[in-house]
């Protein structure tokens, strides 16, 4: 057994929130740079260049890459040989978020109730997702998600006999409906299988995979490539003003499901797809 103080988790969450909001993910930045090489449209090139310049400035000056510093999702994979000491885990995680958003001058975008809508002024509560895994480590992934793109996400429960074509059409429709609002070029996190809520959770988790890292499963990898190709052919382009690149990456996570079902969830993410992780 290994003891870990929740204060260490709090500190890690705080630093990861800051890193994710100030430093654009390397894989995302690389994908934008490679999009610039493919893009011919002058205006779209200008937009991609300003995205690259923005990332440089944000990192250097420790400014939020985007003013929508999001609602924070904290994923914790906790080894079953770990004993957490020093207090309440979820409180520690939320305190880490609060400290980061205060210290980093990040926007507080969380309201206490969907109807009463009073800003909590701390950007908490965050969403905490906990899994118990083998080992004696704690893996922490923090993703602050902006809602311009979050608002465009969708889920559909397909028939189990639905064709790949129907699923692809659904995903294309989601991207078309998102249009310029979701700040393309996008990263798509897609969850397929499981139950209604596991598909959505998988879609969000899929965004954590670096977009330049190939999917280990051959049939899924093929599907990801086909979806990316079809969506880029839509010509929506950077900020929806036309162009070659509409998606920077398509990441799928799949799971076993029921004989009657084929749930598909699409979590739309903008060109400022953020996350940062560490292992304690």
């Amino acid at each position: 057994m290994r003891e870990i103080d929740v204060a260490k988790i709090k500190d890690a969450v705080r630093e990861l929130c800051l890193k994710a909001n100030f430093e654009l993910r390397k894989d995302v930045l690389m994908a934008i740079k490679s999009a610039l090489k493919k893009e011919a449209n002058k205006r779209s090139r200008g937009i991609l260049k300003s995205i690259i310049e923005n990332a440089r400035l944000a990192k250097k000056k420790r400014l939020a890459i985007c003013q929508d510093t999001g609602m924070v999702l904290v994923n914790l994979d906790i080894g079953q040989d770990v004993i957490l000491v020093g207090g309440d885990l979820k409180k520690a995680v939320n305190e880490g978020v609060r400290q980061a958003y205060y210290k980093g001058c990040l926007r507080k975008s969380v309201v206490d109730d969907p109807f009463l809508r009073k800003n909590t002024n701390t950007n908490t509560p965050c969403i905490t997702s906990i899994d118990i895994v083998e080992g004696d480590k704690v893996k922490i992934d923090v993703s602050p998600k902006g809602f311009g793109s979050e608002n465009k996400s969708e889920i559909r429960m397909f028939r189990p006999t639905a064709s790949i074509g129907e699923i692809k059409n659904f995903i294309s429709e989601v991207v078309k409906k998102a249009g310029p609002d979701a700040c393309p070029p996008l990263v798509l996190g897609i969850g397929i299988g499981g139950t209604f809520e596991t598909a959505a959770a998988l879609a969000k988790k899929a965004l954590l995979r670096p977009i330049d890292k190939a999917n280990p499963k051959k049939h899924i990898r093929k599907l990801e490539k086909e979806i990316a190709k079809e969506i880029n052919a839509l010509g929506i382009g950077p900020m929806g003003l036309g162009g070659e690149i509409t998606v920077l990456g398509v990441n799928i996570l799949e799971a076993p499901t029921h004989i009657a079902a084929l749930p598909v969830a699409v979590n739309v993410s903008c060109h400022v797809t953020r996350s940062a992780g560490t292992i304690l």
């Binding site: 923005n54 939020a64 929508d68 001058c105 311009g148 608002n151 249009g179 310029p180 609002d181 036309g242």
Partner: protein, 181 residues
């Protein structure tokens, strides 16, 4: 397409020659307002109260900035999705608002009001709020301060880079982009 510099307040005359797709640099005073502030303004108007903001020839920026880090006037401040403000927009146009800054397409009703009153809708690039913050010279929360990031801020901007999304004739750049494809 031409690139021009314009200054607020924006008269009808100042925007009549702008065309969808033009790239412009905007300088002068603009006001931020997003969902909650729009709702509050609408409530005041519905109750027949005075709107505590002079909207005549004004430009509203759909944005909620991050707080200013030390020695900066404002934090990151890019545009939010404009369509969420669509239901509130025609009435603000009736009250004299000339320009709007945001991202994404607008409703048919908003387009009609823009055309009828000779207004203009500008697009700012989303997700580059750090870069756009360098164009803001001063920022002050002036209304609905209890809303925190959703308060109305008075911003002084210099050469804020924008694209004309919908011009005073009602021409829509997104429609053009769709047709070109």
């Amino acid at each position: 397409m031409k690139i021009v510099s314009i200054k607020t307040p924006l008269s009808k005359d100042a925007v009549k020659d702008l065309n969808a797709g033009d790239e412009i640099y905007l300088s002068g005073t603009i006001y931020t307002a997003r969902d909650a502030a729009h709702k509050k303004l609408e409530d005041l108007i519905k109750r027949g109260k005075r709107v505590p903001l002079n909207l005549k020839d004004a430009v509203i920026y759909y944005a909620g900035p991050t707080p200013p880090p030390p020695r900066r006037v404002i934090g990151s401040c890019g545009p939010t999705t404009s369509s969420r403000m669509d239901p509130f927009t025609p009435v603000l146009i009736e009250l004299g608002m000339r320009g709007m800054i945001g991202k994404g397409a607008r409703s048919v009703e908003v387009k009609k009001a823009i055309k009828k009153h000779g207004c203009v809708y500008f697009l700012a690039t989303g997700g580059i709020g750090a870069l756009l913050s360098t164009k803001v010279k001063s920022a002050k929360a002036i209304l609905f301060k209890d809303l925190g990031p959703e308060a109305i801020y008075k911003l002084e901007v210099k050469d804020f880079p924008l694209i004309v999304g919908i011009d005073s004739k009602g021409k829509d750049l997104y429609e053009k982009a769709k047709r070109k494809k």
